[in-house]
Symmetry: C2
Subunit: 705 residues, 2 copies
């Protein structure tokens, strides 16, 4: 788990030294001092500058060592070549945190990476937690620790807020700070990690999850060196019930290539990042405004208590647009109860009183009518959320000042309701609404998007109780293995792990085929299948290595002779180990379960349907192992073709619970044997109306190092 | 086709009478007079008010009849009950256009609808083109004809613009006017249709397509009474190379239900509207801001000459985000040529010079560097588009004034390039950029979305040359038919229409089965299939009515006996007409072609894959008939599972051209017989590596009225 305690001297320093301190408050070494003073930082500020007595009015020290007392945090604003020396001095001084503004390390290529690795080693050895290099620092708005040279932060913000942001990119963080403020976000913490020599986005998320001032967490990420730490941080944030909204770039080939050329980060496989975020209830934003809109909503909005959304609109048309938007994201635009409709029409005679409610232009001149309607909707309608669209009411000098009292009154009477307001606003009206923590959006559909996101967070938090998956012991069979195990051993391994799989019998000569047939027939009469056993052959039927529907022991014996000779002829180089005889199974849906090893996140489980679905149409979904059965059930529902499991063309529905159990079990097996498994391919995994069974499988062990 | 000439007196009146004229410039009957005067309308303005000598300083007339000379347009601002009388007087006066502001008609229910129908009949009889009732009128910004009471229009706009909007909803149009202006849109025309007694969204689109001041067309629509007219209007706009961007609400069940309760409009089947829009190159917007953002781009941006997009970003991270966005919408983030990379690094030493180009913060202080880089990118890189992200440069008092000259210089040198700029802006800088028609977006990903839309319009316009599909003559066989035709007749009908289909032989007794087998074997030896012939049986195999793989005439004869007796036993009530014998066909992909009759758009062709794809997974796509083969090819590419046609699991790719030909032929057949066809179901339509063939089909004729 992430070591939060060691981050405290870095992010909540009592004393800060600035090496490379400048008397010029516009320079990189001068800006943090200016900001710290302006923001009212209450700790000690120690400029280090051998050429000056004072810096910006503060006593300057020639060297770090000269500073009296302890220094929690050192800010390193010197050229790249001097960083190492400063860090060594900081270690001698017993400093516990360092921020390296300096650029010129891993982002420049191999030699820079070597120098960066040296810094990392020094820091690790001395127990110094480090931010950067090539970063813009951080700003803690609750204690005035603005340890950054980012120019826009200098303009200040209206109030210390409740949204924490951690960004790998300084430029993104700078831009985002402005976009966020314009969209109602007030920041609690603002952190940039740059080359992330030590503290990375995961540490930032965990720190923010633990920060009492932070209610919602935003991140911007390009790549990730330690997937487990990232997943742990997200899990920690969820355990603290803090919504996390993230931008992860490099989603496409073009983007991933650009990440590579832009920083030293691994973009990683996007479908795996996507799975990790989904698994931990992270809202993945695809645009800058979306990141901050949802962040603003998460920090200010009450989570809707149910999926029911009422829409109250001054425009019937926009009301319909919002109903479409709400239905599209899975919210329930339930009809208004008849009694409530009557009440509404009693308030506004010409109102459309179903849902959406068309409150008509009459409410503009008389906002009391709107307030009464909203009360009726929330009270009689039992909607968790009301989304209210009021056109450009917020631009009216006459009427807009009434919006805030109206929203306050409703909140006072119904604190558990989610109210989201949409109108074009005069800036001063916006500012009031922000200050009082109301939810509003100029674009009406974004109000619905926000409600959907809030509902998603609530869902995610409610899943905390799901049993943590228990890992089994590593499988002894894998300890000595290397490369692909044959079908017999692979199926055995899965069965031992608890994944249902056929138990074929091995057959080495014709007479054994007869004997095996009889043995199977005793337990379970019916046709059998005979297959060549060879881990060299991926497509056994292509070389004549499969015989289906054998109904007698004679047929089984003949098939053995035929198969072995055909394979010898068609694939003379394949090593074979006889054949497998197994009962034939049919009825149900063929699926594919897989495990692959992701370089960042470790074993990842894949699920898809057989036939063309997984292989041709890429209709598959992923989760990082291990996970429980409820998570597996969500996974199953994510593929586009999941309706096929519901029973089609007269076939009965299949056993999704058995499938979910198998996926979860496979994930626990994969996690327990993470260091020994290269991949698992269960294909087909037949899900039947009752139960499920693996018919074929290949487990591949990792090569020895 | 739409009668544009008759719309001229309505939308470009030389003289306007206002019945219900008020001296109070804030009232519904006073606002249009105030606006007409303020906007400098050059024609005659005639207030009609029996109680006053003058209205707002203009001579008032007691009655319409008293006005000297011709009146083009009458504005009716009286209570609903008086509208009919005014309209009759207008007809007597020879007025050619009428705007009915008054509410209280079809939107109130059945009795209002009757009164509205009476107005329609009066207008039609007198040749009066009518807007409304229950509408907010229109504003023509090029001639000052602001014939509306919409309050916000009164605030004026900076310049007559080039974006025309037609909206069914007045409230949406009002809100949109403000949102649009805020997002850079300058309007040429602003039209609301309300209950659309006569002039509807389609007329508006056609008028705007014909309007020389209008460069891009926006619409907002809830429902549509005349689908053909709407499609014609979109086709006309495309022929004029005017981009159309539309919001059509009622996309979901919740939304469609709300449309029903909100207006008298038919929401219609959303998948059909969607198909019509796609077919005509309309950009369907899902949010309000998207409508206006794309409208702004379409009115100002040069269409990109190719799909290649270069990204120049001050933030590497946002550069990657934009690369992801571009790749996701099908644009080509092609790498920068090596020579261009060298040139860029010569200009900015630490630039990331691939694509995205990371221009670094160095350019802020020296925008000449950026200008040089953009030149190199466009010239040496041969990119049709460059998207430039500059963070919050536009907020800088010092540097932002340099943005406009930079963009002007680049446009002067490279007028064929599309340049789109993203930064946060000071309002005055924004205004300058709008005034000079540059493309910019505060949200960086919206810059990419706009480029993608512009590229889509260019594609759509380039398709004009595609041959218009020729309709065949109506099929005589359908003239007398009613209900479902049997398989034999259905297949024959399709073959006659030019859709490839098997030609089975009819078999009425065992000996005929032998004869038919021999006849088929002569042309095409191989196994045959025998099927019961009955239009009462939808699932023939369920009742034992199908025998596959018959290889001898004996087998065929036996099968005939077996099938007829099984069907008699299992489905004693089904009327049968013997059997059909046909060659067995396999190899290829089973698809489904269908025709359904949409109440708004007439015959609609559906395409999907067989098996679970169409029926369970609803992976189908639609087009309104008729359409050509190139449109059919696009249709085929739209289904999610289209990769299956490319050959999977070792199977060869199938003949997409034959499939496209069949879809287009089917569409022409459906259109030619639109009044006689209820539906067509071709299932399966087997698409083979070479050629394609319908194996089974049901054509259902419409019931006689």
């Amino acid at each position: 788990m992430i070591d939060l305690k060691s981050l405290a001297p870095l992010f909540r320093p009592a004393s800060i030294a600035i090496v490379g301190a400048s008397d010029n408050p516009a320079k990189i070494g001068g800006l943090p001092i200016r900001y710290l003073k302006a923001a009212g930082f209450s700790g000690a500020i120690h400029p280090v500058n051998p050429a000056r007595e004072t810096v910006q009015g503060l006593t300057a020290w020639p060297r770090l060592a000269d500073i009296p007392g302890d220094v929690d945090l050192v800010v390193i604003a010197v050229p790249a070549r001097d960083v190492r020396g400063v860090l060594l001095k900081a270690a001698e001084k017993g400093v516990k945190g360092a921020i390296i503004f300096s650029a010129g390390f891993a982002e420049l290529g191999a030699s820079g990476a070597v120098e960066q690795a040296e810094l990392a080693a020094i820091g690790r050895g001395a127990g110094i937690r480090m931010l950067g290099p090539n970063c813009s620092g951080f700003a803690n708005f609750s204690n005035g620790a603005w340890v950054t040279f980012a120019p826009l932060l200098g303009e200040g913000q209206a109030r210390p807020g409740n949204v924490g942001m951690v960004s790998q990119s300084g430029a993104f963080a700078n831009f985002g700070y402005r976009v966020g403020r314009d969209r109602g976000v007030a920041f609690s913490q603002w952190i940039t990690t740059g080359n992330a020599i030590d503290v990375d986005v995961a540490d930032g998320v965990a720190f923010l999850a633990d920060d009492p001032q932070t209610k919602a967490i935003l991140f911007y990420m390009e790549g990730c060196a330690d997937g487990r730490k990232f997943a742990d941080a997200l899990a920690f944030a969820r355990s603290k019930k803090k919504p996390v909204i993230g931008v992860k770039v490099g989603a496409t080939g073009a983007g991933a290539a650009a990440v590579g050329s832009h920083t030293a980060s691994l973009a990683g496989a996007d479908h795996v990042f996507d799975a990790v975020m989904r698994q931990h209830g992270v809202y993945r934003a695809r645009t800058v405004e979306e990141l901050f809109d949802i962040g603003y909503a998460a920090a200010n909005g009450a989570a809707p208590v149910n999926d029911k959304v009422a829409i109250a609109s001054i425009s019937g048309g926009v009301g319909v647009l919002l109903a479409d938007a709400a239905a599209s994201c899975g919210l329930d635009v339930a009809p208004m109860p008849a009694a409530a409709q009557d009440t509404i029409r009693g308030i506004i005679p010409f109102a459309g009183a179903t849902n959406p409610v068309d409150v008509t232009a009459q409410v503009i001149n008389d906002l009391d009518l709107l307030e009464k309607c909203l009360d009726v909707i929330l009270q009689q309608g039992e909607y968790g959320t009301v989304a209210c669209f009021m056109g450009y009411l917020g631009l009216s000098e006459e009427y807009s000042p009434r919006i805030l009292p109206l929203l306050n009154a409703i909140r006072a009477r119904r604190p558990d309701s989610t109210v989201v307001f949409s109108t074009l606003f005069r800036p001063e009206i916006r500012a009031q609404l922000v200050a009082e923590g109301h939810l509003f959006f100029e674009e009406p559909t974004h109000a619905i998007r926000a409600v959907s996101a809030l509902r998603g967070f609530a869902d995610s938090f409610s899943r905390q109780a799901e049993a943590a998956p228990q890992l089994e012991k590593p499988a002894p069979a894998l300890a000595g293995a290397e490369g692909a195990l044959n079908e017999f051993d692979s199926l055995s391994l899965l069965r031992e792990a608890g994944v249902p799989a056929v138990a074929p019998l091995r057959v080495r000569f014709e007479e054994e085929a007869r004997r095996a047939f009889r043995a199977l027939a005793k337990d379970r009469p019916g046709p059998v299948v005979l297959k060549i056993l060879s881990s060299d052959l991926m497509h056994k039927s292509d070389v004549g290595g499969v015989a289906l529907g054998l109904e007698t022991e004679d047929a089984a014996a003949e098939a053995f002779a035929r198969i072995t000779s055909l394979v010898a002829e068609n694939a003379p180089d394949a090593r074979t180990e006889g054949c497998l005889l197994a009962p034939m199974m049919w009825g149900g849906v063929e699926t594919i379960l897989g495990v692959a090893r992701d370089p960042i996140f470790g074993p990842v489980v894949m699920f898809g349907l057989g036939g063309v679905f997984a292989e041709t149409l890429k209709d598959v979904t992923f989760r990082v192992a291990p996970f429980g059965e409820e998570e597996a059930a969500r996974m199953i529902g994510e593929i586009r073709a999941s309706a096929v499991l519901g029973g089609v063309r007269g076939a009965p529905a299949v056993d999704r619970a058995a499938l979910a159990r198998a996926l979860s079990t496979l994930s626990r097996f994969a996690a327990a044997n993470a260091d020994r498994i290269e991949s698992v391919d269960v294909n087909p995994f037949l899900v039947r109306p009752e139960g499920a069974v693996a018919l074929d499988a290949v487990v591949t062990a990792r090569a020895r190092e």
